[in-house]
Each structure stands twice: as structure tokens, then as C-alpha cells.
Amino acid sequence: MEIPVVRKILESNENTAEQLQAIFAEKGILVLNLMSSPGAGKTSLLVRTLSDLKDELSMAVIEGDLQTSNDAERIAATGARTLQINTEGACHLDSAMVLESLKYLDLEDLDILFIENVGNLVCPAAFKVGEDWKITLLSLPEGDDKPEKYPTMFAESRVLLLNKIDLLPHLEFDRERARKGALTINRALTIFEVSAATGQGLKAWYDWLRQEVLNKKSR
């Protein structure tokens, strides 16, 4: 016999993500899910952001990697609360991993929780982790056609950070093509051109963070 089902395959992940959202909403914490290919500069961007804003915002980071705590050590050196999740081979974080990690992370008086996902331009986009927004980094050396080739992550994100913008003179990177590729299927995307290495363009990113923290607290 044929049995109609109509259930979302990732419903259990989404249910846990809703549970996480309720926890974060109650505490007024802005939660950002940071995604990119390996090497695009997620950790460097976070180190810089945490250092530059540490006197005005209270921030914590959950680090997702297959192995090692290298990134967590770099983050912890800024003084921010840090927790490392090793996915032991899994290509993305899911909401159950994040829920489990909260046992070990103090959420009191936090303004922003960054969840640095596993470096991968495909899989993390499918798994909600309780975030307010997904943020995608694309670094210039990866090429300007990546939004066209990997549309899912760009379609799901609120912000696109074009990182390593300081390398523009040295690369054949068409910034208009990258912007257009991303905006084609995501009208809501906000794009910042930044360099975590030189600090170029970071002011606009910081202003966005400040505004979103206010928005979250007034919700």
C-alpha cells in the first residue's frame, strides 16, 4: 500500500534548531553561522573582529572543525569565550552538536555568538544551527564564479563578505560578476568587501554587527 508521508527529511535538525533559537532569544544573543570554503579566512576575520570590538561587545565562538583545536586556540588568544567541536569527519555542524556544546559554554551576558562552521561551501548550508543569520565568506583567490557554481549557500545567507579584497590588484577577479552571481538568487544579501589582514572595509561589517545586536535585543 502507498502511504502519504510529507515530512521534511531534516525535521529533527530543524526542531533542535528551533529549541536553540528559543534559548538564544530568551538571552537576547545574536547568533551568526559563519560559512565558507576552507581557507577563506573565517578564523582570521573572527580574530580581527573579536579583537577590534572586545571593549564594546561581549562575544563567544563555537568552532567547528573535523580535527584539531588550532582555530579555537587562535580565537581564545583574543580573550573571547571559545569552544571547539570536532566533527570527526562530518562535513558540517548540526543543531544537536551545538545544543550539546552549550553545556560547556557560558551564555550569560553575551551579545554575539559566532558559530564557525566546518570549511565547506556546500553541506553546512543545509543544516540550521539555531542562528539568526547565515554569513558566507568568499575570498578572492577562490574565483568570482563561486556564487554561480555553489548557489545554495549564497541563497541562504544574509551577508556575503568578500574577503582578501586587498589582493584585488593581483588577481583576475571580477567583483561585479561575484556580486551579480550572488544577488541573482538572493535579493536580501548584503555584501561587504573586506580584508581581515589589512582591516580594509571592516568598519561597515562592524556597523552591521552593532545594528544587529541592537535589533536582537529589542526583539
Binding site: 502511504i3 508521508v5 510529507v6 521534511k8 531534516l10 562535513c91 557554481k149 541563497a155 551579480k180 538568487i185
Partner: protein, 120 residues
Amino acid sequence: MHEMSIAQSLVKIVREEMAKNQVESLIKVTVCCGRINAVVPDALHMAFEALTRDTPLQGAELDIVHVPLRLACGQCGSHFEPEDGADTVFFHFPCPACGQDIGHEVVQGRELHVESIEAE
């Protein structure tokens, strides 16, 4: 390679539905899969087969129904389905009504759900 996680959730849902409906042998499961959710059908088939081997679900057919991308134009709001490019590049989507090519909204193509199961 998130297809393994997806297959695990899929198998869990199928088992629950089979128990609920008191059926023991799975013949077919139909899954709806949107164009932009980045699921590779071959990888999902392989993961499903690996997870159901030596279980009552073994040998069942996994039917993946592709749901095309459907956009609402960012300018005039009319709905349209862009054609898939011949290669992987997935880019230029002018609205057939007004020609606007960026700022569209995805109205269909993110689906990933179990539509039905056939079992006895």
C-alpha cells in the same frame, strides 16, 4: 557529502512511518528534492543503500523527484522557472516578463521531504 546525514534522517522517518502504519516490508520511498538544496542523487542513493543493507528496508527503491527552481522576479514579481544551464554554471536568469536579471526570490527549489512510502 552531507547525503549520509540526510539518508540517516530519511531512514529514521521511514521506520517511524512503517511502524505507525504496521507494515513490515518497504517497496519504495519517494523523496522530493529541490534544485538548489545541493543534494547529489547518486550520493543519496549510495548512502540509502548502505544504511538499509541487512535491514527490513533492504532492496527498497529510492525514487528522487526533482523539484525545479522557481523564482519570483525582483522587479515585477512574476514567477518563472529558469532553465538549467548545460554545465554547472547557474547564473544568468533574466525574467521573461521584464528582463530583470538579479534580485529574484526563490519560491520553490529548497524542498527536501519524504513524499510517500510504498510498503506491505
